[in-house]
Amino acid sequence: MGIDLSLIWVLIIGFGLMMYVVMDGFDLGIGILFPFVPQTPQRDLMVNTVAPVWDGNETWLVLGGAGLLAAFPLAYSVLLSALYVPILAMLLGLILRGVGFEFRFKADESHRPVWDIAFCAGSYVAAFAQGAALGAFINGFVVTGPTYEGGAMDWLSPFSVFTGFGVIVSYALLGSTWLTMKTEGELQGRMIAIARRIVPVLLFGIAVVSLWTPLAHGAIAQRWFSMPGIVLFAPVPILVVATCWQLLRLLTGGADGKVPGAGPFLLALFLLFLGYTGLAISLWPHIIPPNVTFREAAAPVQSQGFALVGALLIIPMILVYTGWAYYVFRGKVTGSEGYH
């Protein structure tokens, strides 16, 4: 047997989507936090912390789409058709958010609030749509043959609405801890306070999803609560609780009352990583839940192999120069700098 191309591609796409969630997560989080920061100079500062990098962050989403089309065209066509409404909502949200970045600084004073609203609303819509799509994905799809035959609104369920809000809360945590790292003074203080309140809300959300999922899906419940699944899963909730506890500890200043730096952000990333991993273990190896596995949706070997050469050569280079760009724009962003 040769190289397991499909397996490698699942890992690459999974990695790309995780990079997207993490990186555009804190960008979107900034828009989500806008209603809690009404002052224009502070909003400018928040946007300035991600201005040089947001394009690259969003590119991971394009890689997810193109990678899925290249390696699992069946999954790409069925999932995107089934998720037509949330995907379109996400794209429109990302359009408003993306141009909001650009236009809000340049609009006349009278138009500026419009682009503030576009930036904020776009972030909410995109985050909610991603979460709802995730919920619908866990719920599974009606598939007969190579096409999706369900209705346009089948994605909508109480569960998918809940996961929609869950993703908004997750991104808000990423955004607030990112800003805790990148700002100082009053804005940082406010972000710390917000992050502190988000942590228990998110913990509650994770708990609800963790109970709801096995109750609604027998197959997932069976995987969770039988050997060897239970051994694999047992550390996940323990790690989640421990991470949240440590996060709160850092945000309240720890033992010696220090102002937190990058710690909360890194812990928030880890928390998302845990949720992501738990999800992956639950659904493995299905790429169109509940029935189609990633091997059944695989592209021809010639397609997967050709694209894999590029992916393995180029993704490390991308990580290097993306890291360099973050390095160039490292450090705190303060009010006296950047845009006025």
Partner: protein
């Protein structure tokens, strides 16, 4: 009817979103290379005019790039949301090509854009130039992959159909398919020409408004040189692509010419104007020039091509549309050639910056590169119909099974959002380029080295909300 309507709506949606999108990358390709040339000239000659022009055009680049990114994201998902039949059938070929585009181009552009727009005080001049080069290269690499993908849909080869889907057998044949080199050259030149017309119109407008300064003169002069070189090359490239199309997609050429049937032994007339009527199967009110069609299409006096009558009715593209979009493109190309020659003439006479009639002409020509490019794309894409992969898969079999209602609502939302968002963006772009290009700070590194970046548009200083009045 219920089967046709979602298809038409899906085509309308794709046509609408891609037409908006293509404008931005085309200008990004042209401006990216222009900025690289400007920065290179500045590094070599140390003439601050080039640096000032770099700063001026990088503002337009930033606005344009952002709109290209967000409108392009839609395209990456629309293949799946609206064309699931195509994606599951041909994803094995278009998918890897798109994946290479993302990996080799999109990340490169996005990764170095931040440094290019905000990093002048954070990295050395050499590294900054390198970032500009990487962004410019990214735009060209991106064009190359997407045109390989599109050309494969026009002239597919290097594949087999196994179990009802496309399996690539020879990637070199897939990428270097017969129409790819022609399309790549034609589109590359279109991007450069459209950008040169845009830059030239900007310079001409400032000259007309008496904003005469070395920066305005330099941009106008460079643009006129560029048009003089690229317009004739583009006409040549278009002719070559036409011959290539005649070889591989003869029905498309017959439709472009509104040409229905041959008279045995006689050369083809060229129909200058007329109304190809698909129902009546002839071209009404035709104004013809004998033998000109043979000369253009076969480069011989009596050559013949297949007419539309030689193809079954269900395999004919819509000649009414193609006939006119093709003529619009060619007509504009002739005007561009005239503009390039006019520029050379007035430069030789020493009145390039003073002849107000010519400056008005150059201003009016500003958007024609974009219009001609869109007309050309409509010609080649509508001309591929009724196929999505030429001769292999029909567009009707490619579309997702959405309801009329879902497609109508989504199309309406796209139209409203795109017109509002990108309409505003274009007005902002106009505002940026109608600001008088002033002298920048003497030396960039003299600025506060701790200066932080803001976002792309803040690469520009604040702009007066009414620059036109302010300038007068």
């Amino acid at each position: 009817m219920s089967n046709i309507d979602p298809l038409l709506l899906a085509r309308a949606q794709f046509g609408f979103t891609i037409s908006f999108h293509i404008v931005f990358p085309a200008i990004t390709i042209g401006l990216g290379s222009y900025l690289a040339v400007l920065e290179g000239l500045w590094l070599i000659r140390k003439d601050p005019v080039y640096l000032d022009l770099y700063q001026f055009w990088s503002r337009a680049f930033a606005v344009n790039f952002a709109m290209g990114v967000v409108s392009g994201l839609v395209m990456a998902y629309e293949f799946g949301t609206n064309w699931s039949g195509f994606s599951s059938f041909a994803g094995g070929i278009t998918g890897p090509l798109l994946a290479y585009e993302v990996l080799t181009a999109f990340f490169l552009e996005a990764g170095f854009l931040g440094v290019m727009l905000f990093g002048r005080n954070k990295v050395g001049p050499g590294l900054h130039f390198f970032a500009t080069l990487m962004v410019a290269a990214g735009t060209i690499v991106s064009m190359t992959w997407i045109l390989a993908s599109n050309s494969w849909m026009q002239t597919p080869q290097g594949y087999e159909i196994i179990d009802g889907r496309v399996v690539p057998t020879d990637w070199l044949k897939v990428i270097f398919n017969p129409s790819f080199p022609y399309r790549l050259v034609h589109m590359g030149l279109a991007a450069y020409l459209a950008t040169a017309l845009f830059v030239g119109a900007t310079g001409a407008w400032h000259l007309l408004k008496y904003h005469d300064n070395p920066r305005v003169r330099t941009m106008f002069s460079m643009a006129m040189w560029m048009i003089l070189i690229t317009a004739p090359l583009q006409i040549l490239a278009g002719d070559q692509q036409g011959l290539n199309t005649l070889e591989y997609q003869p029905a498309k050429v017959a439709a472009m010419e509104g040409y229905w049937s041959n008279t045995p032994g006689d050369g083809m007339a060229e129909t200058l104007f007329g109304w190809p009527d698909m129902a009546e199967q002839k071209t009404l009110d035709a104004v013809e020039v004998p033998h000109l069609g043979s000369l253009i299409l076969t480069h011989s006096w009596d050559g013949q091509i297949k007419g539309l009558d030689d193809f079954p009715a269900q395999d004919r593209p819509d000649a009414t549309i193609l006939f006119w979009t093709f003529r619009l493109m060619v007509g504009l190309a002739m005007l561009m050639l005239l503009l390039g020659l006019g520029g050379a003439w007035f430069r030789w006479r020493g009145t390039l910056y003073d002849n107000r009639l010519f400056l008005r002409f150059a201003t009016v020509m500003g958007p024609t590169g974009i219009i001609a490019m869109l007309a050309g794309w409509i010609t080649t894409e509508v001309g591929r119909q009724p196929w999505v992969v030429y001769g292999v898969m029909r567009t009707a079999d490619a579309v997702s099974h959405h309801s009329v209602q879902a497609m109508t609502v989504s199309l309406a939302v796209f139209v409203v959002v795109y017109c509002a968002v990108f309409g505003t963006g274009l007005s902002y772009l106009v505002r940026v380029v109608t600001t008088v290009p002033d002298r920048g700070p003497a030396a960039p590194n003299a600025e506060d080295p701790t200066h932080r970046p803001a976002r792309p548009l803040s690469a520009a200083p604040d702009i007066d909300p009414s620059p036109i009045q302010a300038a007068e």
